[in-house]
């Protein structure tokens, strides 16, 4: 499992290559497994940011436990049984803490009893939901996405049905309390959803365990009848039985991989009285255990804490025998309340309240439920297509709204419990009996349903006239045509239905697709004209990595390679085994005459992935004709052309006003289109016509401290004037430095040096005259040789300044390689253009001087962080372009309490290498360095980790963090507190300020920590930077681990403070400074150095 790859769940272009069209068009009538799978996968990815409103985000602690340091949380578990019921209440309440806090376990312990009490109230909600949430996890886990708690079990059995069936038991508990109630403004729209949901419990009784699921049926044998509304009370019993079951099962289902559970934790029926916290957990266990092995995962985890004494041999016979001697009545009452799980505490309080909007649209589910059926064909029908066909013929029974994957059928309508249908197999006229058996009643908000909703949504988008390009929908009729640049910009939307802390929402982001009017062949022609000698290289540079769309279908492909040896005259093998040339293929199938016979072919290599069922691995290459492929995205050349980009960004960078207007337009188009409404209606969905309005906060302004001056940051979070007026915290005197410039830049170089002299004083920099080296030409070798000889002859050179002409990546790269790797010395490259305008020279010189000071090890400014013995670490990953798929991790750690000294490291990894290996090296080095400087180790470590997608959060939590903790063991008696925060920049959430009937951008420091947040984690959205143009794009922060016990307020404010400390920008930036530093460093190393920089530079910000 490589956690290196940064995933952008929403925007990743490369993913958009599959057959969306097909998925959509098939869905209602039949979903063939592929499509279904694709749809589901996609949903799961898409949902990544999402949460469930009604589903308080309490994740069961179990899977997390292993990393909990011996914290107080455990104490609970060891509590002797007698405490059981009496304390049950409080404990169970505390229990969520353990789970949720990932590491907050200790908090649970120290928490005053008051809070459990308070929590008790909202208890009912979460628990059941947890069960459900789980239910859907197994499929995820199979994919290794690790979203589920139990993802330790990578090879989960595909008994999805069973898992789901089981989760329903918990259903009755599921309903009532809107979780966030107390916290923030709830949209009225959201409320009806809850109300409706209350109806579900009764319905749930119908639940019929999947026949194939042995676990479930065993539970039934044990007497836990799902139809009984046993409420919360039954839970402990469930646990007990589950324990037993597990034991019993051990011999039966060894493949599941939870044998250890059975062995170590064979809870017999009476088990409920065991350790108090287990009462609570038992509860969970019950809900969960049947779900799938997931439930059991807590088993092995919990077991170490159990006193070995009480272990009773697994009552195998009993479990299998049927009537279980489970003391139902005794347990029912007390546990009831404990079932409670309450939403994660993620709301902060600091700062001023502000009304903000977000690009989330509340969705109401009017259906009472979605019904899941198991379909069996007797005699068995192997071919899926035939199964689909047969089901299709029975639309009169199932209705038109069908989601079917070949054996599991979802309908928004209730059929009889068992329905038998007849069909005839066309091949042999065999009569087939189709048995449709209801297995589950899902609440309409259920995670399982969201994929269907998203399929519906895609249809709706098409109905309102939008075209699918890649993964998003665009409106060609409003295309902006930039004739000059031969491209079109299609406005559109990236949409996704997701579940957040606040409920079910439609997330809409305004998106633009840049499409080019030219085929790849046309562009090749242009390239050939420009540089016939480097034609192939230039083409590779231009096209590899680009996304193309083909002339004959709407698919997009990423170009991975160009096959120069091939041409359309070559032939390939069709699915039926016959050979055909490309020319014939396109003529025959699409009536396209290939005009250019001598063109190379483009290669797309699909990501290897196995088809569902693991039958077949899709590999190989897809070859495309340049003539029939059209480029998408902004051309590389244009990106570098400031003026051209301006033409483009004018259209792409929409203001908040335009953004909201576009969204409202879409909502209106949907809500006024009967066909679209009808489509939504099929699954009982109703999209609100208004975007979400809620209350956020603006965090307090920070005081920026220079050497002696300090000031409160302005409302625009910009202190460019102040930093050049007063002395920086510390400045390195520049006694010996060298400026290299080509002859024709001599004048500018001289002026710059003079200007440096003028502006250095106020900043507090002592500056001697530099060694001036005039180069006879501006060739790369000339620079390199001169610098090299200078550095050799004058080993005391503190800084190399190079004035270069034009945008020359090769030269820049050569200079940096020399100065960062071969002959380590801080270096500053200056484009002559930036210093050619006399009226700007002063401010440019000031900026450069500050930057040079940083590179030398000076310190510019800081903010106060009221935490002692703190180390803040930033981590980001960059993908190296030169070495395919190799990625670079940048690591930056603070070394002092002012957070002004930074230690940085870089590691390179191959695709399958775990980032953590490199990370460990970096962390140990940073800790040692910290010790050298402070004569102690940091007590608290806060890690900001960029580049982790939602799908990888679990991996981080379960794999990276334990490794990090292990790292600390290197030092004797060293157990620092750790907070691990994932930083996500590329998210689709947009925040708007709202005032005077107008939408704008929220001020820097705006934080939103509820409603649109993720139900599974403590997370928040923070907009730290000030926005000059465009929309308010916040950064998403997820606290994955927090033994430092930072409260939501601390997390938010610390993060905001860190956004003040990027010295290349006298203002706040989008991400915490260490992340930005790490990014810069990784970028430099991956893009230009292609190797690790010299260790001598590690304690300076040489990479700025």
């Amino acid at each position: 499992m490589s956690i290196l790859l940064e995933h952008t769940p929403i925007n990743s272009k490369s993913r958009g290559t599959d057959s969306e069209t097909e998925v959509i068009s098939h869905f209602f009538y039949c979903i063939n497994v592929n499509d279904f799978q694709v749809a589901v996968e996609r949903e799961q990815e898409l949902q990544s940011e999402e949460m469930d409103p009604n589903r308080p985000p309490v994740p069961p602690g179990a899977a997390r436990m292993p990393w909990l340091p011996p914290a107080a949380g455990r104490g609970f578990m060891i509590d002797p049984p007698p405490l059981g019921r009496a304390r049950g209440l409080a404990l169970a309440a505390a229990e969520p803490e353990t789970g949720r806090g990932r590491g907050r376990a200790s908090a649970a312990a120290s928490e005053p009893p008051v809070s459990p009490f308070g929590r008790g109230i909202s208890l009912p909600v979460p628990e059941a939901q947890v069960g459900i949430a789980r239910g859907m996890l197994p499929p995820v886990e199979q994919k290794g996405l690790g979203r589920a708690r139990g993802s330790l079990f990578t090879s989960l059995e595909p008994q999805v049905g069973m898992g789901r069936g089981a989760s329903l038991f918990m259903e009755p508990l599921a309903e009532p309390v809107p979780p966030v109630k107390s916290q923030m403004l709830q949209l009225p729209e959201a409320v009806p959803g809850f109300v409706e949901e209350k109806k579900t419990p009764e319905k749930t009784e119908v639940d019929i365990p999947d026949p194939g699921s042995s676990l479930v049926s065993m539970i039934r044998e044990l007497g836990i009848e799902p139809s009984k509304s046993w409420g919360r009370g039954a839970a402990p019993m469930g646990r007990g039985s589950v324990g037993g079951l597990a034991a019993a099962h051990q011999s039966l289902v060894s493949s599941v991989g939870f044998s250890s559970v059975g062995a170590e934790e064979p809870f017999p029926e009476g088990m409920t009285l065991r350790g108090t916290s287990f009462v609570g957990r038992g509860m969970v266990g019950a809900g969960r255990a049947p779900v799938s092995p997931v439930g059991f995962s807590r088993g092995p985890i919990a077991s170490p804490e159990l006193p070995p004494g009480p272990i009773t041999p697994p009552p195998v016979s009993v479990a299998l025998a049927g009537p279980p001697p489970v003391p139902v009545e005794t347990t029912v009452a007390p546990v009831k309340v404990e079932a409670a799980r309450e939403p994660l505490k993620k709301a902060g309080t600091k700062g001023n309240s502000i009304t903000i909007g977000a690009n989330y649209i509340p969705i109401r589910c009017k259906n009472e439920a979605v019904f899941q059926y198991h379909v069996t064909f007797t005699p068995n029908v192997e071919a899926l297509s035939m199964r689909f066909g047969m089901m299709k013929d029975h639309r009169s029974t199932t209705g038109e709204v069908v989601a079917f994957d070949g054996s599991i059928l979802y309908l928004p309508k209730r059929l009889d419990e068992v329905v038998h249908l007849k069909a005839e197999r066309k091949t042999d006229n065999q009569e087939i009996d189709i048995k449709i058996q209801m297995t589950k009643v899902l609440p309409p908000h259920c995670d399982l349903c969201i994929p269907f909703y998203n399929v519906v949504l895609r249809r709706v988008m098409k109905i309102v006239g939008l075209k699918l390009v890649g993964r998003d929908h665009y409106d060609p009729s409003n295309a902006i045509v930039l004739g000059k640049h031969r491209l079109q910009v299609w406005p559109g939307y990236s949409t996704c239905i997701k579940e957040t802390d606040g409920g079910l929402y439609l997330g809409v982001d305004v998106s633009h697709k840049v499409l080019r009017n030219d085929s790849v062949l046309n562009i090749m022609g242009v390239i050939y004209q420009q540089s016939p000698e480097h034609f192939q290289d230039e083409c590779t540079k231009e096209f590899v990595g680009a996304i193309v769309i083909t002339r004959y279908n709407n698919r997009t492909y990423r170009i991975d390679d160009i096959k120069w040896s091939k041409s359309p005259k070559d032939s390939f093998t069709l699915a039926d085994g016959s050979e055909t040339t490309f020319i014939d293929y396109y003529r025959k199938n699409y009536g396209i005459t290939v005009k250019e016979i001598d063109q190379p072919l483009l290669v797309h290599r699909p990501k290897e992935r196995s088809k569902p069922g693991g039958k077949q691995i899709i590999t190989g290459e897809i070859l495309l004709l340049p003539e029939l492929s059209f480029m998408t995205g902004i051309p590389e050349k244009m990106r570098k052309d400031f003026r051209a980009m301006k033409d483009l960004t004018v259209h792409i960078n929409v203001s908040a006003e335009q953004h909201t207007h576009s969204i409202k337009q879409l909502l209106q188009n949907i809500n006024s289109n009967p066909e679209a409404l009808n489509e939504l209606q099929r699954w009982g969905l109703e999209i609100s016509p208004e975007i979400l309005m809620t209350q956020g906060r603006t965090l307090p302004m920070e005081t920026i401290c220079l050497q002696s001056a300090s000031f409160v940051s302005s409302s625009s979070a910009d202190w460019s004037r102040e930093v050049v007026r007063d002395a920086s915290i510390s400045s390195i005197p520049l006694y010996c430095w060298a400026v290299f410039y080509p002859r024709r830049a001599a004048e500018q170089a001289e002026e710059l040096v003079t200007m440096f002299g003028k502006v250095a004083g106020p900043i507090g920099i002592k500056l001697e005259r530099p060694i001036r080296v005039e180069l006879r030409d501006d060739r790369t070798e000339t620079y390199v040789k001169s610098i090299q000889s200078q550095l050799t002859s004058e080993p005391n050179v503190q800084l190399v300044v190079c004035i270069i002409t034009g945008n020359r990546d090769d030269l820049y790269s050569a200079i940096k390689k020399l100065c960062c790797v071969q002959s380590p010395c801080p270096s500053q490259a200056i484009n002559v253009r930036t210093i050619s305008q006399p009226q700007k020279l002063r401010s440019i010189a000031q900026k450069i001087l500050l930057q040079m000071n940083c590179k030398l090890g000076g310190e510019l400014w800081t903010v106060s962080v009221p935490l002692k013995h703190l180390m803040v670490i930033g981590v980001d990953v960059h993908h190296d372009v030169s070495k395919k798929k190799r990625s670079v991790m940048g690591f930056v750690a603070s070394l002092n309490s002012l957070l002004t000294r930074w230690y940085s490291r870089v590691t390179f990894q191959m695709p399958n290498e775990e980032i953590i290996n490199g990370f460990r090296v970096c962390l140990l080095a940073a800790l040692q360095k910290y010790y050298e400087m402070n004569h102690s180790f940091p007590e608290k470590i806060v890690i900001y980790r960029d580049g982790v997608s939602d799908g990888q959060l679990k991996t981080v939590e379960q794999y990276e963090i334990p490794q990090i903790l292990k790292c600390f063991e290197t030092f004797p008696n060293y157990e620092p507190k750790l907070t691990f925060i994932v930083v996500q920049k590329r998210i689709s959430t947009t925040l708007y300020s709202y005032g005077g009937e107008r939408f704008g951008t929220p001020p820097p420091g705006t934080v939103l920590d509820h409603t649109v947040t993720n139900k599974d984690w403590v997370d928040f959205f923070l907009m730290a930077h000030s926005i000059r143009q465009g929309c308010g794009l916040p950064t998403h922060y997820i606290s994955v681990y927090n033994t430092a016990n930072l409260t939501p307020d601390h997390l938010q404010r610390l993060t905001f403070k860190m956004c003040h400390l990027y010295w290349n920008w006298p203002g706040t930036i989008r991400v915490p400074a260490p992340c930005k530093y790490a990014h810069k460093l990784a970028f430099l190393s991956g893009q230009y150095l292609h190797s690790e920089p010299a260790i001598q530079l590690a304690d300076k910000l040489y990479f700025l």
């Binding site: 068009s25 098939h26 009538y29 120290s110 639309r395 038109e400 005839e424 066309k426 091949t427 006229n429 098409k462 075209k467 390009v469 060609p476 295309a479 045509v481 004739g483 000059k484 031969r486 079109q488 499409l515 009017n517 769309i549 083909t550 002339r551 004959y552 709407n554 039926d576 016959s578 199938n589 699409y590 009536g591 396209i592 400031f642 003026r643 307090p700 302004m701 920070e702 005081t703 409160v712 940051s713 302005s714 409302s715 625009s716 460019s720 700007k840 401010s843 903010v863 106060s864 962080v865 009221p866 935490l867 002692k868 000059r1028 430092a1044 016990n1045 930072l1046 409260t1047 307020d1049 601390h1050």
Partner: protein, 394 residues
Amino acid sequence: MCRNGSDRMAALFSPPLYLQRYQFVIEYVKRFIPRKVIDLGCADCGLLRKLKFHRNAIEVLAGVDIDCAALRERVNALAPLTIDYLQPSPRPLTIELYQGSVTEREPCTQGFDLVTCMELIEHLQLWEVEGFSNVVFGYMNPCAVIISTPNVEFNPLLPGLRGFRNKDHKFEWTRAEFQTWALGVCMEYGYSVEFTGVGVAPGQNRDVGFCTQIAVFQRDAGVSNGPVNNAVQMEPTVYRLLYRVVYPSLCDNNIFQRTLVCQVLYRAESLKREFELGEQSMQSDLTACAHSLPPDVVAGSTVVYRHRSHVFVPLQHVWTDPKVQALCGNIHRLRQALMDDSRVQLDTDRDAIILPDEGEEEEDEEETGECEEGNLTPSPVIDNSEEDWETEIG
């Protein structure tokens, strides 16, 4: 519908029979270049999807089926592709889908050049066939009709087949029966017919004929039920229009204009760039002294020139672009088209395109913030100095 029997026959024919039927129609369209084609019993629009690519000159493509769900199923596949917007076709194309019965008279179905009716009639009751003939040949009265139906004589060669090829078939004809019906139709409505088919029997069983028999009808010259046509203009429609899409094409004036202007501007811009590059090299060579010639010298000239802060690109130069030529046909039309377009600025003689000379003034966005001088309003001071998170953490 037409694909239903294909399971059984998949092994027998390659490519599958239904594809062969489609191919037959495609070949026909290629030869006879109809402009309006309607497919009766189009089911999931398989044939229409094929024809959409093999358009030749088709401008209207319609489909009719009685099964609304089947029609809807793949309807999105008929929508224009991204590329259709990027490079609009020179010809228009409209695709329409109707739900309705082929035994009903629907005014919209009149005036087609070609009616295809693949594997449809055998789904009608025998007594309905006459009504069908009347509607298709008498009422719709297209130039040509292609009708295919199973050849029952072939059935013994299909392994394991009992009865008809599909449960929904009401009859399956022998070649003689089919031909009798077809010739009868010709007599009555003034058509001539040719018989052929697809799906050749394997081995020596050739005498059973094609698996699918096909009749291609041509309306006899001069015979047209013109009067009927006019008379029914007022008739109410009986079909339900389920889907209609108009493809972007250069026949749409706006699209044409836009495409042309884009091409012209692009061409003009690249000419201007070449010119500027030339200018620069001249400057650096310090050889050219008069790079900005007075306008009277160059008026009506065919070279790019600069006047004040504008660059003039003669239309003659732009015209050399083959794409522009393809769009406009002649330079006068080009001039005409550009004259009234606000996106293009022509000089007074309408001989050159004027492009602004975006000289050196480049604004660095990042610097703009600096203009707000003295904007240092002291913000509400919040004193953080007293804070101690340590105690809060506990």
